[in-house]
Amino acid sequence: MKQFLKRLRKDKVGIVGFVGIAMVIIIGLLAPLIAPYGPEEMSQTHVMEGPSKEFIFGTDEFGRDIFSRIVYGAQVSLQVGLIAVGIGAGFGLLFGLISGFFQGKIDQIIMRIMDVFFAFPDILLALTIVAVLGPSLTNTMIAIGIVFTPVFTRVVRGTVISVKENEYISNAVAIGVSPVNIIIKHVTPNIMAPFIVQVTLGLSGAILTEAALSFLGLGVQPPNPSWGVMLNDGRALMEFAPWTILFPAGAIIFTIFCFNLFGDSLRDILDPKLK
C-alpha cells in the first residue's frame, strides 16, 4: 500500500486527475456555501443574462444562476456516481467472488446471465430499465447499477480465478479453512487493485450515463439541477445564450476527464505492462 501511494505521488498526471476529482467532491459537499443562489431560485429581472460579476456563468430562461445550478449539479452527479457504482460494484463483487471461487455450475449460471446483460449496449439497457421504472433520480441510479453489475462481475471473477492459483489459497483449503473465510480473508484483499481501478472508471461511466439519461429526459427530472438536464434545457436557447450549454457541458467533460485521468494512472501503477 505504501509503495502504491509512493508511486501514485510520483505520477503527475494522476495527481492532476485526483485534484480535479477532489475539487468536484468539495464543490458538491460545500454547495450551499459556495453557490451564491439556490439551484431553483428564479429571477424575472435577470432572464438569459450573459456571464457577469453578479452571475459568473450567466442565467437561464427562468433567470436561474447557472453557476449555482452547476455547483448543486455536482451533488447530483456524485450521488448518482457513488450509489450506482455502489450497487454495480456490490453485486459484481458478490457474483464475481462466488463465480470465480466456486466455478463449476454456479459459475456457468452466473456468467450466462451476465452474457445476457452484455448483449445490450449500456445506454440502451439503462434507457429500457428507466423507461419501465419511470424517470427519477432513484430509478436512474438503480438502472445504472444494474447496467454496471456485469462489468464488475467479469473483472472480479477473472481476478479471483488467478488469485485462486496461489499456494496460500490451497494451503488454506488444506488446513480446513471454510470457503467463506478464505473468500473474505484471503481472496478479497488480493483482488482489490483491479477492483478499485474499475470503481474509478465506473464512477466516470455512471456520471456520464446519468447525464445522458437526464439529457434525454429519462433521468433526473427538472427543475433538479442535473448537468444533463441543464444541457437539454439549454439546447433551445444555445444560439442566443450559448453559456446555458457551454458551462454544463464543461462541467461534465471536466469531471469525466479527471476520473479517466486518475483511473488511467491507477491502472498504469497497478499494471505497468499497459503503460
Binding site: A119, P121, M238, E239
Partner: protein, 314 residues
C-alpha cells in the same frame, strides 16, 4: 473454421433466449396496469378490456411470451400499441439509417484512431505521443451528446447550420444523404476514436517489445515493414475486440445522436416508443438491437480466428 462458426452460433442460442426473456420480463414489470399506463386514467373499463384482449395482456405470462416469440421467429414482431402498424417493417426501414450512421461513424473513427495510435506507439514518450494520448483521453471523456451540441452551436454561429428537418435516403440522393449524415457520424466517430486510439497504442507498444520484432529489425527489415506487416497484424486482435465492443456502443449512441439531429433511425424509434409507453415497439426494437449487437460480436470472434490461427476454442 466452419465447425468453429457453427459452435459459436449454437452458443448464441441460450444468450439470445435469455435476452428475449429478459426484455419480455422487463416490459411486463411496469408498475401498475399496462393497459391503464397506455390509455391513461380516464380510460373506460370497456376500452381497457379491449386493449388487453387485442394485445393478449390478460393471458398468463408464459403464454404471452410464447405467442410473442412464435411471432418473432416467423418475422412478426407484433403491432404498435399506438398506431397499430406492424413493428418489424418499421424497425427494418429505420435500421437502414442507423446501420449507415454506425458504419460511417466506425469508418471515421478508424481512419482517425488507428494511424494516430500507431504513431503514438512508434514515437513513444515524445511530444507527439503525449499529444495523441491527450486527444484520446479527451475523446473518451467528452460525451457524444455534449460534443454534438457544441458542434451544432459552433456550426450554427459560424455557418448558420441547423440539423436537417427532413431525412433523405442514400439511394434517393447519395450526396444529400451524406450531407445529412456526416456531422452526426463525425460526432459519433470521434467518441469512439478515443478508445480505439488508446487500444491501438498500447497493443502496438506491447508487440514492439516482443523478441520477434527485435529479430525482424536485426535482419534489416524496413521500419515500415516491421510496423505494418508484423506489429499491426499482431496487434489487431485487441484492437478488433475494442472495435467490436465500440460498435455496440455506437448502436447505443445512435439513440442520443438520432434524437439530437432529428434522424428517423432505430434509436429515435426506441426513444419515441418509450415516451409514448408503446411497449410492443420498445421490446421489438430493443430485441432487434441486442440481436445485431450479439451478431457483431460473433463476427468479431470469427475475424479473430482468421487473424490469429493460434486461437483455439474449446
Amino acid at each position: 473454421m466452419l465447425t468453429y462458426i457453427t459452435r459459436r452460433i449454437l452458443m448464441l442460442i441460450p444468450v439470445l433466449f435469455g435476452v428475449s426473456v429478459f426484455i419480455f420480463i422487463v416490459m411486463r414489470i411496469v408498475p401498475g396496469d399496462l393497459a391503464m399506463t397506455i390509455l391513461g386514467n380516464n380510460a373506460t373499463p370497456e376500452s381497457l378490456h379491449q386493449l388487453r384482449e387485442d394485445f393478449g395482456l390478460n393471458l398468463p405470462l408464459y403464454v404471452q411470451y410464447f405467442n410473442w416469440m412464435s411471432g418473432v421467429l416467423t418475422g412478426d414482431f407484433g403491432q404498435s400499441m399506438r398506431t397499430g402498424q406492424e413493428v418489424l417493417p418499421d424497425i427494418l426501414s429505420r435500421f437502414k439509417l442507423t446501420f449507415e450512421l454506425t458504419l460511417i461513424s466506425a469508418f471515421i473513427s478508424w481512419i482517425i484512431a488507428i494511424p494516430l495510435g500507431i504513431i503514438a506507439a512508434v514515437k513513444r514518450n515524445t511530444n507527439t505521443d503525449f499529444g495523441v494520448r491527450l486527444i484520446s483521453l479527451l475523446g473518451v471523456s467528452v460525451p457524444n451528446f455534449a460534443l454534438a451540441i457544441i458542434i451544432i452551436l459552433v456550426l450554427s454561429l459560424a455557418f448558420s447550420y441547423s440539423p436537417p428537418i427532413e431525412y433523405v435516403g442514400f439511394f434517393e440522393n447519395p450526396l444529400q444523404n451524406l450531407e445529412i449524415m456526416i456531422i452526426p457520424a463525425i460526432v459519433l466517430g470521434s467518441s469512439m476514436a478515443g478508445a480505439v486510439m488508446r487500444m491501438t497504442r498500447s497493443s502496438v507498444l506491447e508487440i514492439l517489445r516482443q523478441d520477434f520484432i527485435r529479430t525482424i529489425r536485426a535482419k534489416g527489415a524496413r521500419e515500415r515493414i516491421v510496423i505494418f506487416n508484423h506489429a499491426l497484424r499482431n496487434a489487431m486482435i485487441p484492437i478488433l475486440t475494442i472495435i467490436g465492443l465500440q460498435v455496440g456502443t455506437l448502436l447505443g449512441g445512435t439513440v442520443i445522436i438520432e434524437q439530437i439531429f432529428s434522424l428517423p433511425g432505430l434509436g429515435q424509434l426506441v426513444l419515441t416508443a418509450i415516451n409514448q409507453r408503446d411497449f410492443i415497439v420498445v421490446q421489438g426494437a430493443v430485441l432487434f438491437i441486442a440481436f445485431v449487437f450479439v451478431f457483431i460480436n460473433l463476427l468479431v470472434d470469427v475475424l479473430y480466428s482468421y487473424l490469429d490461427p493460434r486461437i483455439k476454442y474449446k
